[in-house]
Amino acid sequence: MYELDEKLKPYYMELDPAKRLAILDAMPEDDTVKFLRTVYNNRYSDHENRGRKNVDWWLWRCICLQQLCNKGGFFKKFREREINTIIVELLMNDSHESLMYHEYRNVAGRYLSTCRSGNYASRFMGFRQASDDEKVLKACEDIWQMSGGIAQVSGFGEKMRLWCTAFHDELAEYDAIGHEEYIRLDNQRRK
């Protein structure tokens, strides 16, 4: 959908923040790199100022979106307010669509990189590890909840369009069943 510039490919393919910064520093300074630096600083800084180190604020907000998706109707107003805040924080209104699309995919990719670990989707307090299929299904559900799911529940579908597309595409690339599962979850909720 949004072609990736060959020059920027290594930056967007890299998931480690320190390595990404090194790649960014090595690039000649122009408007695009300036913008990428702004996004980088926004993403990897502690917006709550709790003195935490190695923060991936956007990844944290993904997790928050997933939690908000699971929250009941009682917290509807609270949820809408928070989603609005997240939309602003994640620069979803920004005009650099192509760059933002790939940054969002990078966030989704970083989340998905944790979904093959031993503890992920385990049961009975970690005593029973999940099979690979179970992990993929759980990853699909997580990714859907933090994109399509929350957009549906909150009614912010239009504002979150780019975000949802990026997450969907990243999931489709992550596993063969990713695309189908995302669509299935989307349709199931719509019913």
Binding site: E48, N54, W60, I63, T114, S122, F124, M125, E141
Partner: protein, 338 residues
Amino acid sequence: MNENKFMSAFKANAIWLVFIAEIAIFYYFNPKFLSLPNIVSISRQVSYYGIASIGMTFVILIAGIDLSIASIIVLVNVVCAHLMMNMGWNMWIAIIVSIIMATLIGVLNGFMVATIGIPAIIATFASQTIFRGLSYILSGGLPIPDVLRYAPEAGLTGDPTLGFFARWSLNHWSLFPRQGIGLIPVCAIIMVICFAIGSFILNKSYFGRYFYAIGGNEEASELSGIRVNKMKYLIYALSGFFAGLAGIIVLSRTGSAQASSLVGFEFEVITCVVLGGVSVAGGIGHMSGVIAGVLIIGSLKSGMVMANVSEYTQMVVQGLVLAVAVGFDCFSKKRQAS
């Protein structure tokens, strides 16, 4: 309301419907079940279950477990009674010291789980055995009786009627006089306050967010900047703290400390929490469900006593309820995945 919304509202509140159905059944067989004295009695009975289940909820939310809470409660009983009865400590200081000790045991559990990396079930089982044993050593295997009668209070040492435990005991723990119009046991009020605090932590504080996040995907939480190990320390410490508080309530109810009491209590608390919809896989659950779970178990116990069901049969029923609650959680997960 369309069908989908109705179904989701039904599912979200199903646990409360179970509670209402349970009450209706017990009321049908014995109308005294809904009498005021019995309701007050149930509220006293569930208070320590409720308080202990708050800490357990936090622990299960991060896909952990705390099998040591019964031993912590018993040790708090024994230590608090020992400090007051045998060492003549002021009651308030004894209570504070006991609760701090319970919290530190929670920190120890956190250390074993987070820093050493022992699976929670093994680490807390070890704690359970250690602190149950310590309770026996401290009490010499004998009960410490008459805590209510001799509990010293500042300036009122030995006065059985004015002592804190005497006034706030099983028979007198009421916000208003027993003969008065309002019969709200203070232990039930403490439980409600604790639930409000627990609910606030889960829904309104960033700690609650962290708990859910760690239970949902620990590695992603770590990458996002959450200090997972510190959170685990905090959660097990909170579990210890609430167990300690429950221990003080138990002591004030029974008036004696016994190292052999509350065997299997941790499983009853786990039943309350899982029945309330907190997933054993972690990351899913709400405090309101846990309140319903606590009330269901409390009513079930009371109803069975009123129906003259033997103690052994009660154990069978409680075991079945735990199996059904966990089984339902696993079944729904499996169905979701297929």
